[in-house]
């Protein structure tokens, strides 16, 4: 898993690419979100467009990221969720937990 960071209008955007799987992608996401929060960046948008697959550990890490950011007074949202990932979030009944956007500009605006 590769994670690139950029910013737009005070929102930290993480571009995730690859597989969000146990033992690799999940740990990298955890570290990246932790680093953001350490620098006070708690408005986080995960761009999932290039995530090719997710397993239950990856789903668990998304939930952990969401609760960690929320518990620090921030917000974590998702954009460009591929159909396979959306399906897994539906199966695990988590699709309703996350704010999910199809358009990045709209997602960024939603933080303000």
């Amino acid at each position: 898993m590769k994670i690139d960071k950029r910013a737009a209008d005070g929102v930290s955007i993480l571009d995730l690419a690859g597989k969000l799987y146990i033992g690799v992608g999940d740990l990298k996401l955890r570290e990246t979100v932790r680093d953001l929060l350490a620098t006070g960046e708690n408005r986080v948008l995960l761009n999932m467009a290039a995530v090719s697959s997710i397993d239950s550990s990856g789903v668990g890490e998304l939930v952990s990221a969401y609760t960690t950011v929320s518990n620090q007074g921030g917000q974590l949202k998702l954009v460009n969720l591929p159909p396979k990932l959306h399906e897994v979030l539906l199966i695990t009944r988590l699709a309703g937990i996350f704010e999910i956007y199809d358009d990045e500009a709209e997602a960024v605006d939603s933080f303000s």
Partner: protein
């Protein structure tokens, strides 16, 4: 290829998924079936490694596959408790409160991906066998494919 024995390490989870892809290719599954079988086997193997064998590399995750008519059957065996009993016996359609804990979703994912999913405790030698079955060469079951 009909049988694969792996140590209980996270690397074996990757190997198990790749093994499932080769089975899918050999069985003529379409791309969606290949994805579903691979992810289901991945989840079952991860549970066998982490929960069944508690990441003891000396314990084996035993994978087997067979075909019977239009059915593709994969077994994932471990030397321990396998899935948490409460998760394994959860019935389809059961509506528990939304769970924000970081783990415990593998069973729900497997149940959705394959046509049949059973968990059997084995006495000799002690362990758990998870059986996944799905139709091959057919379209994804209603509500189970990608849209």
């Amino acid at each position: 290829m009909n049988r694969l024995r792996l140590p209980s390490t996270l690397a074996s989870v990757e190997v198990a998924e790749e093994w499932a892809w080769r089975i899918a290719d050999a069985s003529g599954l379409d791309d969606d079936g290949r994805y579903r079988l691979g992810l289901a086997v991945r989840e079952a193997a991860a549970n066998a490694v982490l929960h069944g064998n508690r990441s003891d590399p000396g314990k084996i995750v035993d994978l087997r596959w067979s075909e019977a008519g239009d059915r593709l059957r994969v077994e994932v065996g471990d030397d321990g408790e396998g899935f948490a009993p409460s998760a394994a016996v959860e019935q389809p359609g059961h509506r528990a409160p939304v769970d924000l804990s970081p783990s415990g979703r593998g069973v729900a994912i497997i149940r959705h991906l394959v046509d049949e999913f059973t968990v059997t405790r084995r006495r000799t030698p002690p362990g758990t066998v998870v059986v996944l079955a799905m139709a091959r060469g057919t379209a994804a079951p209603q509500g189970k494919g990608l849209r």
